[in-house]
Point group: C2
């Protein structure tokens, strides 16, 4: 996000290395590949995301005077190099997948063509942005698929990893298949539809559950979704919701109810039955409470009549796969005017890189359905 | 982080609820508790962190004109309420643990005393800040303990969840026991020592591994840590490092080497043996590569002669526990001038709250060692 743009948002070793490249006048044109080594979540695909945010940041990347002063204070940088940083701008070229593309391990998601110094400096920023947003877009797509392409809302702000852990997660979740976010600032910044219901504290702030529901329905007759599990879901909560629902129905409106605890399969079936009995066949059921794609798949398989899904923690953090293993590796450098492929080898075969400047070709059948990707020298 | 301060960084339902409180003139003095329900990482303690960042943000919290315009565009807020938001400031009182405290489930880490409207609005911001930084400070403390209170460096910028996923993780990791970060901006902003070595691309940018090491040692003779696994750790990498190390030693300097792949126990023992044989007994060994507290504990238990640890992904994301389950619950509200305890009950016993305004007392023995915590009505 723009607010974070700072050329100091980089690992110290990038700065010590580029001082070396500057000092030794070793600044050839190079190509770096960004790719990842294995699919997250034990899945079969990932969804590429984060590119627009990355490009925004690269356009604005520069060292401010106080940042140069900070580097000076470390005692490891020469004045000539600090002066060079004052005018530093990123001028390289970026070749990348389109955001929202299905992507696979080992294929370059981004190729950076530029001078060694500029391409090296941006490593951390690039990986930070792409690794996280690709992780979350992938998680969101998995949840969306599990919901039978249903109505998934991203509710993760409070459990996200920091401020733009939340902000860029909202953005990436939307790319992956979520249809709305609870995060109001993400709604404004990225144009994502914003949605919400009520917290338990709303109910507790009134003298009775029923009063709290009535007051809410009076104020928001077109978007009334009542949280019915504050005291007792199937007795006081559901009964009060039905009363309010019938009153709204008489005015041509409909309600929704939300379940945020307990056995969602049992409760949703009971609630559906009682709502229908009460004539509220158009009332919707929203479920939340530590949902993920496995739980949603199970609930749907077992016939739970849930209309929309609020997914928080696992959607915005990845849950038990909290990172994408994306890396950024030197693929080629120019020597005496000729591009020379470079390689890193390793006793861990997965850590050996594919040398040279590469292009990904996606083959499709006559209907446009993808068949296979081919990674070849460009 | 300051750059994120926006009163719109809140779930939409907080805004629809506080419009209701405003409309119905239901804005009593209240107390909210922030607490968490279970220890992360299957551990026995957590380390409280995030408070200073939270307080910074609360001080600056306000709605900007363009943010009010955005809310107006949603068509669910009345002009009178939007005008009220224009002058909104947080004026409540915060009672909290000290950052760095050892904390346990069920005890209030923060008590917010304020009007219902202001206390409700900040729920997301408070949970976002405290949940994440407490998670990471806890992870860092676990890694620090596993390293026998050794030298742990946080190397996570590239795998962190967004920009301040990285920034606030660096801060929290330092609170938890890390002694340095690779993140230069975090070094500047929070006064954390910054450290780094070199990337594989440094080695690949020169005509030979040995040349790259020599050039680095010439430039940074006092902080030379050579990454020896780019081509072959125990042959070319170690041999070149030993040559450079002996040359530096003749000038009264010492080197370090870094291992970033392979069997760290085997390699570190071999490397130690060969360094010592070469007279480089003061050369240090740094290890990295998807480390966490379990791996570090195992390496130390098996006698791996590793001097410092670069911990990235799991340190800054929590790894397989990517979130702290902190919640924010209404504990008390004032009715007719009297504080009335409030409670949420649930079929899930863990989700039932403890009513009333509470204080945590920590009992210590004569040496100051903590014995037990008592949560009592304040």
């Amino acid at each position: 996000m723009k607010s974070h743009v700072s050329a100091l948002f980089t690992d110290l070793y990038e700065l010590t290395m580029i001082q070396g490249y500057y000092e030794y006048d070793n600044n050839p044109e190079v190509v770096f590949d960004m790719f990842f080594r294995r699919q997250p979540f034990g899945g079969g695909f990932s969804i590429f995301a984060g590119l627009d945010d990355l490009l925004d940041q690269l356009e604005d990347l520069r060292f401010q005077a106080d940042e140069i002063d900070y580097l000076r204070s470390l005692g490891i940088f020469k004045e000539s190099f600090l002066e060079y940083l004052e005018t530093f701008r990123f001028t390289g070229n970026i070749y990348a997948m389109a955001e929202g593309s299905v992507v696979f391990p080992g294929e370059p998601l981004i190729r950076v063509h530029g001078s060694l110094i500029e391409a090296q400096l941006i490593e951390g920023l690039l990986l930070n942005t792409i690794n996280f947003q690709t992780l979350i877009a992938t998680k969101s797509a998995r949840v969306y698929v599990a919901s039978n392409e249903g109505k998934v809302m991203e509710f993760g702000l409070r459990r996200a990893q920091g401020g733009d852990g939340a902000m860029s997660a909202s953005r990436a979740a939307y790319i992956g298949g979520a249809s709305a976010t609870s995060n109001t600032l993400a709604g404004k910044r990225y144009g994502i539809p914003v949605r919400g219901t009520m917290a338990h504290s709303w109910i507790m702030a009134f003298s009775s559950e029923k009063e709290s529901f009535e007051k809410y329905a009076d104020l928001y007759p077109d978007t009334t979704v009542l949280l019915i599990d504050t005291y007792s879901t199937l007795t006081t909560g559901l009964e009060a919701a039905i009363e309010v629902g019938q009153r709204l129905k008489a005015k041509g409106k409909q309600i929704g109810v939300r379940l945020d605890s307990g056995d969602l399969e049992y409760l949703s079936k009971q609630v559906r039955h009682r709502l229908d009995e009460a004539g509220l066949t158009d009332a919707t059921i929203t479920a939340s409470n530590e949902l993920n794609e496995q739980i949603i798949h199970q609930l749907i398989t077992n016939g739970s009549p849930i209309d929309s899904w609020g997914v928080g923690t696992s959607m915005v953090t990845g849950g038990d796969a909290a990172s994408l293993t994306g890396v950024y590796k030197l693929a080629s450098k120019t020597e005496n005017g000729t591009a020379v492929a470079t390689v890193k080898v390793s006793n861990q075969p997965a850590k050996t890189t594919n040398p040279g400047t590469k292009q990904v070709y996606r083959f499709r059948d006559a209907n446009g359905t993808p068949l296979a990707d081919l990674v070849a020298l460009a």
